[in-house]
């Protein structure tokens, strides 16, 4: 179906169900209950899940298929974000041009950087992309201030030209990004008993884009082009010996993954029309590497999963504070309660980065294939054992 094998179609269907039902799935605990803390079904966070999912899926096309580890992908996210905000400022508050243009701008940017960086491979490639991204970050934060807004960031304003729909700004408020009049921030809330579910326009737009992006990525994985990329990863030299230059293929993969990053950037500013230079910093590039690794490099669904998990932990862990911990362990004797709180304290709230770093190390050490790799080897082991019986 849709030109996919049965198994890939099921994967796509799984992602479809997952993102369509996310507002319900992510809110498993009733409002006001002890565990409402763990709910993640609010629009802002869910938008980030899927947008970073797109970013990671794109990164996986480069890293997962060709094995080229780019440490500068945040530059494309940032370039896309800036292009998107400029479209919202100059053209129209409608998000479609913003998303399209940011993808294209990031693609051109990736073409230039990729053309130079891909002359080298291995660690040199990583350092070159890192250097380019740091350069873009430094320039965006300082000299390019007229274009990027410098350290305060670039955002929409009341007196923007908006040549296509100048009249819309007559209300006195800065218009919010919208899809043909349907505002991105608009949500419907449904109350079912104690449960509260929020269905957000922006989220569903992003989810739709994620599905399309994911579908394209499956097609790339299964195409002859994808096979070529895998050949680059497994043996670059042998590929050259067969008379095929790997350069055009890796460059194409680099540009495609750059466009995915730009798409993510465009969506990000469509949800919240603000782009800052820190979006280009190398820690942001590190984050997408982390998502891909955590989920499983070179697997289809891994990056989506990794992005979701990391964004979830980032939000939930950083919100937990000592009061909440005391509440949870209140059933224990006082001494034990304080002990537990003291032990957990450094890992939550402001210290969630520590948890992230540890998690990351553990995954790299023990699960080189990421969560998906771990799960599938577990599945294989169980399956084989049952066969032996």
């Amino acid at each position: 179906m849709l030109g996919l094998s049965r198994r890939d179609f099921l994967t796509l269907l799984f992602v479809l169900v997952l993102v369509a039902a996310a507002p319900i799935l992510m809110n498993p605990f009733p409002e006001g209950s002890k565990f409402a803390q763990f709910n993640a079904g609010y629009p802002d966070l869910m938008q980030r899940f899927v947008i970073f999912g797109i970013f990671a899926v794109g990164f996986n096309i480069l890293f997962g298929l060709t094995g080229y580890l780019s440490f500068g992908h945040a530059a494309f996210l940032g370039a896309g974000s800036y292009a998107g905000v400029w479209m919202l400022k100059l053209l129209t508050i409608n998000v479609i041009p913003a998303i399209v243009v940011s993808t294209l701008v990031a693609g051109v940017f990736a073409l230039i950087i990729g053309f130079i960086s891909l002359r080298r491979s291995g660690i040199y490639f990583s350092i070159l992309t890192l250097a380019f991204a740091q350069m873009s970050f430094a320039l965006a934060a300082s000299v390019l201030t007229p274009i990027t807004g410098g350290e305060t960031g670039l955002q929409t304003a009341l007196n923007d030209p908006r040549i296509l729909d100048g009249a819309a700004s007559g209300t006195g408020n800065i218009p919010a990004p919208a899809l043909f009049g349907l505002e991105m921030g608009h949500s419907w809330q449904v109350k079912m008993g104690d449960w509260l579910w929020t269905f957000n326009v922006g989220y569903y737009l992003s989810a739709l884009v994620l599905l399309v992006a994911f579908y394209i990525s499956i097609r790339i994985f299964r195409s002859p082009f994808g096979m070529m990329l895998k050949a680059v990863k497994s043996n670059n030299q042998r590929l050259s010996y067969t008379g095929i230059s790997p350069r055009p293929y890796t460059l194409a993969a680099f540009v495609i993954s750059g466009m995915y990053a730009g798409l993510a950037g465009g969506l990000m500013v469509s949800m919240d029309p603000l782009a800052g230079a820190e979006r280009m910093q190398w820690t942001a590039s590190g984050e997408v590497v982390l998502m891909t690794i955590l989920g499983g490099v070179g697997t289809l669904i891994g990056p989506v999963l990794g992005a979701g998990l990391i964004k979830y932990f980032e939000n939930i862990f950083s919100k937990i504070n000592d009061n909440l911990l005391h509440q949870w362990f209140a059933f224990m004797p006082d001494g034990l309660e304080d002990f537990m709180v003291t032990i957990i304290h450094p890992f939550v709230g402001k210290g969630w980065h520590l948890t992230l770093g540890l998690m990351f190390m553990l995954v790299v050490i023990f699960l080189p294939g990421g969560l998906i790799g771990g799960l599938s080897s577990l599945y294989n082991r169980v399956f084989r054992r049952s066969k032996a019986h």
């Binding site: 660690i123 990583s126 430094a138 980065h353 770093g357 990351f360 190390m361």
Partner: protein, 345 residues
Amino acid sequence: MELSALLLQVLNGLDKGSAYALIALGLTLIFGTLGVVNFAHGALFMIGAFCAVTLQKLLTLSIITLDETKTDFLGNPQKIRTPYVEEWFGTAAGQAIIDWAVPLAILFAIPIMLIIGFIMERGLIKHFYKRPHADQILVTFGLAIVLQEIIKAYFGANQIPVPAPEAFIGSFDFGQLVGFDPGQVMYPYWRIVYFLFAMLIIALVFAFLQFTTFGMVVRAGMADRETVGLLGINIDKRFTIMFGIAAAVAGLAGVMYTPINPPNYHMGMDFLVISFVVVVVGGMGSLGGAVLAGFILGILESFASMREVIEFIPGINQVVIYLAAIVILLARPRGLLGRKGVMES
């Protein structure tokens, strides 16, 4: 442009260049011996800096006595803090010890950094020799985050100023020495100390590798690990020691850097990115190249931050190092002094 201004920029570049050179030297040592790309090396630099902070805190631990004759603005008797060292060694000697906290921290930091290095290599890096470079980068990147967050949890997120000894505060009129008018080329004393210290460390490392039997074996191991192993030499043990030494070099660079730039928990990451660029520019696996590139890039950076240059090309001070790296990698892929066959794939 005046000659004195040029001289000033060269001098300004030297201290930052020293720090880059020391970190890059350690990175190259680790890469050359163990073949591991260590993204946690910046964190080691940062830990070294916090060794100095810790020692200073320890030395100023005080006994608090109440002085009934004076009161503070709330009317309570004033508290007088007497550091223990002043209590033990007398006021003058105690104050001198506290004043010299940063140089003393060198002695304090060496064993700590060696131990941290050994633990890191035996506990973690050892298991990654056979894994791809991407995995090594990733696991050490994770370790860097963890180390950084631990330091943040203990010392907070703010910069902690640690002063240089009284004797080195102030500036040296370097221009007068070479015949310029007084006051034209002023250079802080501590930066001279830092530069000399860096040169000393670099010389020690090179002498150690060049003139001792241990260093000879290590160099042989760098060239052909397997053959050295076949000769019945336990090369792994020596490489572990080299890892410890590399960690100590980074740590010492951090200790002495504290008076120049008050340490905070993410200083390591800031230096790491540039240090990698330095290593690549110098040539992966070339110790001399790392040192040379460190100084060149440091001086280049300080030239690019001159007012005249910035007016000519705005923003050049922010990107000159990366620009240099890109040009060099494209024009001379092996780096300045890179050898054939090292990390070419």
